[in-house]
Symmetry: C2
Subunit: 242 residues, 2 copies
């Protein structure tokens, strides 16, 4: 820890190179999380439990990358002792890594539940899930793009679109309840679908967190408007689920 | 940012004092989150929507404290440029603050859903929720104690007990499904109960995260055993929900 970096310049990279390595790790994490999400949705549609198991297993790679990021952040802070903007950049990377790791977790959860779902006959409403997933995925993609390009406008745009995801989720939630009421045999599979939909809704929340971090990184201020976040099903009237 | 702390010693606190301030903020956050959780469970039992609304509103205080912690961490890193163990301590505080903030969020979510639940006739299985909540609360309390006292053994013990919470949650999940199948009028309220139970299960996961951070802080190594974390309902057989 007490090594002075400049004492052996031939092996020590420049600060910019180290930072680049860090953001490179984050981009790799992001790509992996997005690929996991896409694969999870495919596994749901194709009722492919084998693919789903692989997705659950692969989640470790993202977790390992998060550990690497965390390790690199500690090293950068200790050796480089960055100030102001550099410090902000490094701490943003740490936060964004956590959000990407959570997105990966939720993708793996979707895959895990799809394995159980495949044990029962196909449920019609599975079709609504990919639509929700595509929106979640596009939000996650956009905020990671925004992060790579320091594009606060793109981050803000994705941040605002999370509301659309919440609305779609609420619609699906209501539909699933109706379906459960129609036939008690739908209750267990639809409960799993409810949780899968909830996972996708949560991915949107983490994309929103990333957007907020990107915005702060670029402008040094928080996104101004306070928007109520997330799940609106918790305020749905009980007696009229439609 | 470029002020040298020692240039005006009369107003600048010692590093230890600043660190104490930081951990003090975390303890305050922790106490608040625990109080919110206890109040949320009371609101559920007593069907007190007014109290529930207050809990939802109070969640801001925890969010504000997390921002303060985050701000203090950046200041400490920039001004003090801590090394090794001090750095580890500060980054642990940052992580633990995030977990406490999430615990507060989940408590507020329980309160929010209870308001909807009160719109329907009382559901019998509400009684199982406080048991789950008590366990979640005791885990959260223990890890915060462990953090205050650098007690890795206590952290490890709480970490292991999360499995009990997961089992209780899985049991409740199955019970709720059965209840929904018995009477379709139970479907909507029980769905809300499912999500409330899930919130409590997630609180256990965040307590587990805190335990891992405390353990690492004390020993400098990760908790060794890999335990599969969290929700086991995703692998429940579909055709036999009991």
């Amino acid at each position: 820890m007490n090594v002075t970096p400049h004492s052996h310049d031939h092996i020590v990279k420049s600060y910019d190179e180290e930072l680049e390595r860090l953001t490179g790790e984050l981009q790799r994490m992001g790509k992996l999380a997005l690929a996991q999400l896409a694969a999870a949705v495919d596994a749901v549609i194709e009722r492919d439990s084998h693919a789903a198991s692989k997705i659950v297993h692969n989640d470790r790679t993202i977790d390992a990358l998060e550990h690497e990021v965390s390790h690199d952040v500690v090293r950068l802070l200790a050796l480089r002792q960055p100030m102001a903007r550099d410090l902000r950049e490094i701490l943003a990377a740490l936060r964004i890594a956590t959000d990407i790791e959570r997105i990966g977790d939720y993708a793996a959860n979707v895959a895990k539940r799809s394995i159980v779902l495949n044990q029962s006959k196909p449920v019609q409403l599975v079709a609504a899930l990919p639509r929700l997933a595509r929106l979640a995925q596009s939000l996650a993609e956009d905020v990671l793009d925004a992060y790579r390009n320091y594009d606060a406008d793109k981050a803000l745009d994705a941040w605002a679109r999370d509301e659309e995801l919440d609305e779609q989720y609420t619609g699906l939630f209501r539909e699933l309840l109706t379906y459960m009421m129609e036939d008690p045999r739908n209750i267990t599979p639809c409960t799993h679908l409810l949780f899968m939909a909830k996972n996708l809704e949560r991915i949107g929340d983490h994309a929103t967190n990333i957007a907020e971090n990107v915005y702060f990184l670029v402008h040094g201020t928080q996104i101004a408007q306070a928007r109520r976040k997330g799940d609106t099903t918790s305020v749905l009237p009980i007696d009229d689920p439609r």
